[in-house]
């Protein structure tokens, strides 16, 4: 069997490791535009901050490709797939044949049209290692940084560079920060905490025009800056797949086996859409754990094995300046809320299952909550009052606990 993976991040690694659980000898080729050994993209802010290094941010050991019998073709872009003749065409003129193909093409930063953007000398997006390296070269203690976008990427960037620059202002059209993972109360807690570190927010606002080092704001004011980071969102890279007839909504549509509508063609990670069980709907869940697990399921299925990817939910663990946040699922349902000065807990149930939660500050054992959502555990089979108090195995029956901890079933 001849496997080809377009992409070289978490979904690709999941696929390779999935394939190798069942097929030790098939040929695997990985193609990526980036010239790097597989690394973890979410770590680029930690790289700038100094908490990790290029060596430590490698997602798998240096021996990974060799140990798994993978041929990496790095620094080369796949420009087209010829589905009829089962081959991938590369920008260096060569072609790679496949029997089974995985799209793990990820996503790209979306830069909206903004008047005067061409005049801005130092402008960046913040997603790849090269983005971080480029940004690093211009950061100085005198830099005034303007970040457009108060989402996960913009704020991780802010955290990573704060100690290296003079000031940071974050502008967002939305009225609150981190709206993709938090409710209003959670946003407020995080905004206050991040502001206390010295970062300024201009919310419900946007840049109407750039004039070199000045941003004219929609609200009327002007803002001087030296460095611009645009982090308003990402778009799945779906073109190669769409061109050969894969069904694409926002992402490449995949089924519970991570297969597309085309025989032998799979998709995983940020480029794909999967079934989100917390809202019973298909959507892009662009988070690293899901990318790995989709890739792994795809890989096993590509070998002819059977692996379902059918417990997908949005879930995020993230921290800013020492304050940790873990969230999962959807927030539509009956909420149970406990708020203290430093912590916030909101857990949401509906139709006898846990649907979602937000934990800020005290995130201990959050995975017990996540598991209840992923497994759709009927809440009337556990002690929900204990679960509301805190995540704990005491909430399960003695029989369930014996299975979980005593090895009575595996």
């Amino acid at each position: 069997m001849n496997y080809v993976v377009i992409g070289n991040s978490a979904a690709a690694v999941g696929c390779i490791e999935g394939i190798r659980t069942a097929d030790k000898t098939g040929k695997i080729t990985v193609i990526s535009s980036e010239p790097y050994h597989v690394y973890s993209r979410p770590l680029i802010s930690y790289l700038i901050y100094g908490k990790t290094t290029e060596q430590n941010m490698k997602y798998r050991p240096d021996s990974f490709y060799e140990a798994n019998g993978v041929t990496p073709i790095l620094g080369v872009t796949a420009t087209k797939v010829d589905y009829e003749h089962k081959k991938v065409i590369l920008d260096n003129g060569s072609e790679v044949s496949f029997d089974k193909l995985l799209f793990a093409t990820g996503s790209s930063p979306f830069v909206p049209p903004m008047a005067g953007l061409d005049e801005v000398e130092h402008k960046f997006t913040f997603m790849k290692l090269d983005d971080a390296k480029a940004l690093q070269t211009v950061l100085t203690k005198e830099s005034r940084v303007l970040i457009i976008g108060a989402g996960l990427i913009g704020l991780k960037c802010a955290e990573g560079i704060l100690s290296k620059v003079k000031e940071i202002t974050v502008v967002d059209m939305a009225p609150r920060i981190l709206p993709s993972i938090l409710d209003e109360v959670g946003s407020e807690i995080m905004q206050k905490h991040i502001e206390e570190q010295g970062i300024k927010f201009l919310l419900s606002d946007s840049v109407s025009q750039f004039h070199k080092n000045t941003a004219e704001l929609k609200s009327g004011g002007e803002l001087g800056f030296d460095i611009l980071v645009v982090a308003v969102g990402v778009r799945p890279d779906t073109k190669l797949a769409a061109d050969i007839g894969c069904k694409v909504n926002k992402g490449i549509l995949t089924d519970a086996h991570c297969a597309t509508n085309l025989d032998g063609v799979y998709a995983a990670g940020d480029c794909s859409e999967s079934h989100d069980i917390s809202i019973d709907s298909y959507r892009v869940l662009a988070i690293l754990p899901n990318a790995y697990m989709q890739g792994e399921a795809a890989g096993i299925n590509m070998t002819g094995g059977e692996k379902r990817y059918d417990k997908a939910i949005p879930m995020n663990a993230i921290g800013f300046f020492g304050l940790h946040v873990i969230t999962a699922g959807s927030y539509d349902g009956e909420a149970y809320v406990v708020k203290t000065e430093k912590t916030y807990k909101k857990i949401i149930s509906k139709d006898n299952v846990l649907k979602g939660y937000i934990l800020i500050g005290d995130v201990a054992r959050a995975g017990i909550y996540t598991s209840l959502i992923r497994e759709s555990t009927p809440l009337d089979t556990i002690d929900y009052d204990l679960i509301k108090e805190k995540p704990q195995l005491m909430a399960f029956t003695a029989t369930d606990r014996a299975a979980k901890l005593g090895g009575t079933e595996e």
Partner: protein
């Protein structure tokens, strides 16, 4: 593979496993020096309520969600033992988000995580919690 198994009927709730774990992973060879006046942060923790108690530590799952979810590659399985490379960990707590047992916790300064590694990476070499359990409520065996 040998794993730690817990029988809650025999657990006395004495918390000795927590102290033995903290000592085993302290790097010290003097239990008093290691634990006196220290707020311990063991990798095994007792849950107790209304006369029921039991210890919880890493199950070393054969399909480890923490390893699959780790964003850095810091968590890996070495012959079935789930280990953390603290040089690679950045303390994002994704593993805490995904572990169904609540068996992974922040290290003492919060900058990286910690978890049971079956005492394979400390000088004990065999699980200190099991060895010190006075009522054999925690065992280390093949099942």
């Amino acid at each position: 593979m040998k794993r730690i198994y817990v029988n809650e009927k025999w657990c006395l709730g004495c918390h000795l496993c927590e102290y033995n774990c903290a000592f085993a992973n302290s790097g010290s060879d003097d239990m008093v020096k290691a634990l006196k006046d220290v707020h311990i942060n063991p990798r095994i923790k007792i849950e107790e309520s209304q006369g029921i108690s039991f210890a919880v530590s890493c199950r070393h799952c054969t399909e480890p969600l923490c390893v699959k979810s780790c964003i850095t590659g810091a968590l890996s399985a070495d012959n079935g033992v789930i280990e953390v490379n603290k040089d690679k960990c950045v303390g994002c707590y994704t593993c805490i988000m995904i572990c169904p047992y609540g068996a992974i916790m922040p290290g003492s300064d919060g900058s990286v995580i910690q978890k049971c590694e079956l005492c394979t990476n400390n000088s004990f070499g065999e699980p200190a919690c099991v060895k010190g359990c006075p009522n054999k409520a925690i065992v280390f065996e093949e099942r």
